[in-house]
Amino acid sequence: MSVKTETMYLNMGPQHPSTHGVLRIGLEIDGEVVIKGTPDIGYLHRGMEKIAESSTYIKYVVMLDRTDYPCALTNEMAYILPVEKLLGCEVPARAQFIRTITMELNRIASHLLFFGTFGVDMGAITPINYAFRERELILDLLDDLSGQRLLYHYFRIGGVYRDLPQGWTERAMKFVKWMRDRLVEYDRLLSTNAIFIDRLRGVGIVSREDALAWGFTGPNMRASGVKFDLRKDEPYCAYQGLDFEVPTGKHGDCLDRYTMRMEEMYESTRIIEQAIAKLPEGEIRTKVPMRVKLPKGEWYGRVAGARGEHGCYIVSDGGASPYRLKIRAPSFSNLQILEKMLVGCKIADVVAIIGSVDISLGDVDR
């Protein structure tokens, strides 16, 4: 005897606590098992690329913050890098080091946000409070530099906005020390929890081939076993000469993606420590013409953001504003494989998978 069953269409999002913003997923479910999941994006589209065409090169930096807002500084860097290269700016070494330090701080802040929200996704309500306590310290540090807590607009073409205030490096070092102890605490609280590991191991597996084929970047790609980091393999700013590891995973499941970020936080603290020790004296900005004009042509610049490869593709017709600007958003590319990952998992796994890929909807929709 067989019972006639029907699948159910469950509309997850755009208003849902676990989609981290306004992602909508149409889930076709059979009981608790997902048969098909279709992500639907575009709820946060602000037309950033189009705005660039009517802006100037200098003015547009401020818009970049608003794409991947939890990790704003690397967005700025991805845009400033090709512009500086084309202008032929000699960026002072001190500015390069300050950029490195602040970007790593920002990366830790972004990964802390991931750690907290991922814990909540998994039903652990405590980690987010610890994560935000530490993140607050970073926001304070960056606030003292730029006057902003989230959208810094700290990098300028040719350098940075302002020099480090007095005592800032000591505070940053104190934070690094504090943060390392906290990382041990996080591992004791969440990373080694049996329920947590059981929920994540073997869930949402992305093979090495898939990771490369679908354009996974950043910690997600490294979790699948691809050892590639732009900071190491295509060094920019002051990363060359700094000693740090590139953690890679084996299985490409949710647990690996989580572990990557926890280890990256530790590596970031190492980078900050070394960069502060090596921080040279000197200028923080070179002179840049008031009206920046890029020569005719097409250029691409990329940096390693917290979520993956932040890229900026600039097409110039020789004028004062880009003819066309394309932002390569890591979250957007990382989201593409979602439809494949969701097949056959449980409803609770959907939350784990979206959380572990760590998307930022500002980045996806731009």
Partner: protein, 346 residues
């Protein structure tokens, strides 16, 4: 007519009814007060775990917060979804809360001595008290399932389904894990079990397996801690009570907390000797109800602690844990107790 009423009130039956009403009043008001302050306690305790301050605006140390919450719930607009099954939708919160409160009727809280007068705080002594409790706690699931179904919301439906399967599976473990206690004490009356432990020893260590099974199954039965799948905010956006608002939502909430407090009382009575003072006679100057209260608080703290620490388990993991691990363990405990009893150890 007035004369008749007078003789009735002063008569034996009248006094019995009067005392019964008084006791019910004390216990129900006490239980509801505990429920109200358990919410405050939870928020405070979580805030300590999470390096926060917790509620401290209403009254000193936030002590009037539950009252403010209650008023807020009463004043909120009560929304009934257009396509909801109206009678069931309204009935469900009552069904969720009533059984939880009715459990308090058979719990032997101990005696309250006022001068020379002794007031037994147990409302009724039922010789099958344990069965009564299980009957009522099985009824508790109807409120959640009906609430999930009647809301006409897919998330609620999933929550209700999860609740049904979870509670039915763990009810078995719950029932099996206390068979050891019943076998040892030879009675189904809660009062009898407590008295047995008062006279001999508490059953925590002799029935340790049963205690562990009972505690875990109870967390699942209460939909709390790592087993709060029926509401699972981050997956089902609230589960069975997604569509509920105002006092109806508060009643689900109160039902959950009342069940938690009742459950702590039951587990204290079954395994920790109820109002028995620990460490023998030295501490017995503290009255029994106070000891029971302390033991209950310890369990309530435990329930809040694990919720603050553990992530949520997944549905299939919950099921396999219940059926493949906890149930055999509880069965083994029955066997073990039987062997020990026939060997004359217990």
């Amino acid at each position: 007519m007035i004369e008749q009423l007078k003789t009735f009130i002063t008569g034996e039956l009248g006094i019995a009814i009067g005392i019964g009403l008084l006791k019910s009043l004390i216990v129900v008001v006490g239980a509801l007060l505990l429920v109200a302050y358990a919410t405050l306690a939870e928020r405070k305790i979580w805030s300590w775990f999470q390096s926060r301050i917790g509620p401290n605006r209403v009254g000193p140390w936030g002590l009037l917060q539950p009252i403010a919450d209650g008023i807020k719930f009463l004043m909120k607009e009560d929304i009934i979804p257009r396509n909801a099954d109206k009678p069931l939708y309204i009935l469900a919160p009552f069904l969720a809360m009533l059984p939880a409160l009715l459990i308090f009727a058979v719990i032997p809280f101990g005696e309250l001595r006022l001068g020379g007068y002794v007031l037994d705080l147990q409302i009724v002594e039922v010789n099958i008290g344990v069965l009564y409790i299980f009957a009522l706690s099985s009824l508790g699931v109807y409120g959640i399932v009906l609430g999930g179904w009647a809301s006409n919301n897919k998330y609620s439906l999933l929550g209700g389904l999860r609740a049904a399967s979870q509670m039915i599976s763990y009810e078995l473990v719950l029932g099996l894990s206390i068979i050891g206690v019943v076998m040892t004490t030879g009675t189904l009356s809660l009062r009898g079990i407590v008295d047995w432990q008062q006279q001999r020893y508490i059953l925590l260590l002799p029935q340790f397996l049963g205690f562990v099974c009972f505690l875990i199954a109870m967390v699942a039965e209460l939909n709390r801690g790592p087993f709060d799948l029926p509401e699972a905010e981050t997956e089902l956006t609230g589960g069975y009570h997604t569509e509920y608002s105002s006092m109806k939502f508060a009643m689900f909430f109160m039902g959950e907390y009342a069940a938690m407090i009742g459950g702590s009382a039951i587990i204290s009575c079954l395994f920790l000797g109820g109002g028995k003072a620990p460490f023998g006679w030295q501490l017995s100057f503290v009255p029994g109800p106070a000891w029971l209260f302390l033991k209950m608080m310890a369990f309530i703290f435990f329930f809040m602690w694990i919720k603050a620490t553990f992530p949520r388990v997944r549905y299939d993991q919950l099921m396999s844990f219940g059926w493949k691990f906890l149930l055999p363990l509880a069965l083994f405990n029955v066997l073990l107790t039987g062997v020990l009893i026939s060997a004359g150890v217990l």
